[in-house]
């Protein structure tokens, strides 16, 4: 499975693995959104530790989840993004959208 979901008391963690492109992003989005809509978490953690490739489809995936969590008055935390994935995120200005906790822990940059 490209996305393993771990549902906690107040959080949902999505462990994403493999390649994120336009072909794969749709299925990943569905898996994550199903878990979020099922448990209404305060925090959605997107763990990129197992991601080997990402293009702007991954940016679309992250921005869409930001919007989803904003609607639920929750937040998104990004973790374990490998160097090449961080480069794409930085180019897209994703760090500007991150919550304070995420910046404090320095988990993205």
């Amino acid at each position: 499975m490209p996305v393993e979901i771990d549902i906690g008391e107040k959080s949902v963690t999505a462990y994403i693995s493999g390649e994120i492109d336009h072909h794969n992003a749709g299925e990943m989005r569905t898996r994550i959104d199903e878990a979020v809509e099922y448990s209404y978490p305060e925090v959605l953690v997107l763990d990129f530790g197992g991601v080997t490739f990402m293009d702007s489809s991954g940016i679309g995936l992250v921005m869409g989840r930001f919007r989803l969590m904003k609607n639920l008055c929750g937040k998104v935390i990004i973790e374990n993004a490998p160097r090449a994935i961080k480069k794409v995120m930085r180019m897209a200005g994703i760090e500007k959208m991150l919550s304070a906790e995420n910046k404090k822990e320095g988990s993205l940059l």
Partner: protein
């Protein structure tokens, strides 16, 4: 200038071929001994261009995507990615960061920005109704370091 090596690919505009396309180009340029970052930059840029052909050029109809890669003296790689799809009426607008014609809200509108910043040069030629051709260039300087 004559290339010292070249290859051509054509394949159907199915989204499952996005991975094939970027991997095939990466495998072809591997002979120049690029480092991980250079290879990743090329794969990302190719993925953006091919996805544009599929999503925008052919609007998810099945057409043919053409890729032509040339390697020149001095480890210069030139990649042409072309479709015979709908074309772009306003290239300047299409290249603006965050601009997208996609209405589902899941496309970031960053394809051209990423191609431009991850490669040394990017050129776009397009004619409405005829198709779009993107040219990407990068010099491989690392020799694996």
């Amino acid at each position: 200038m004559k290339p010292i090596n070249e290859m051509k690919l054509c394949f159907e505009s199915r989204s499952c071929n996005e991975s094939f396309a970027r991997s095939a180009v990466a495998a072809f340029v591997a002979v120049l001994d690029p480092n991980v970052e250079e290879l990743s930059d090329i794969k990302t840029a190719v993925s953006e261009a091919v996805t544009n052909c599929i999503v925008h050029g052919y609007k998810n109809d099945i057409g043919t995507v053409y890729i032509h890669v040339k390697i020149f003296e001095g480890a210069l790689v030139r990649i042409l990615i072309k479709d015979r799809g709908c074309g772009i009426a306003d290239i300047k607008k299409a290249m603006e960061p965050l601009f997208t014609t996609c209405e589902t809200g899941e496309r970031a509108g960053l394809g051209f920005s990423i191609m431009d910043s991850f490669m040394d040069k990017m050129k776009v030629r397009s004619k409405p109704g005829k198709g779009t051709c993107v040219t990407l260039e990068k010099s491989i300087v690392s020799k694996g370091k």
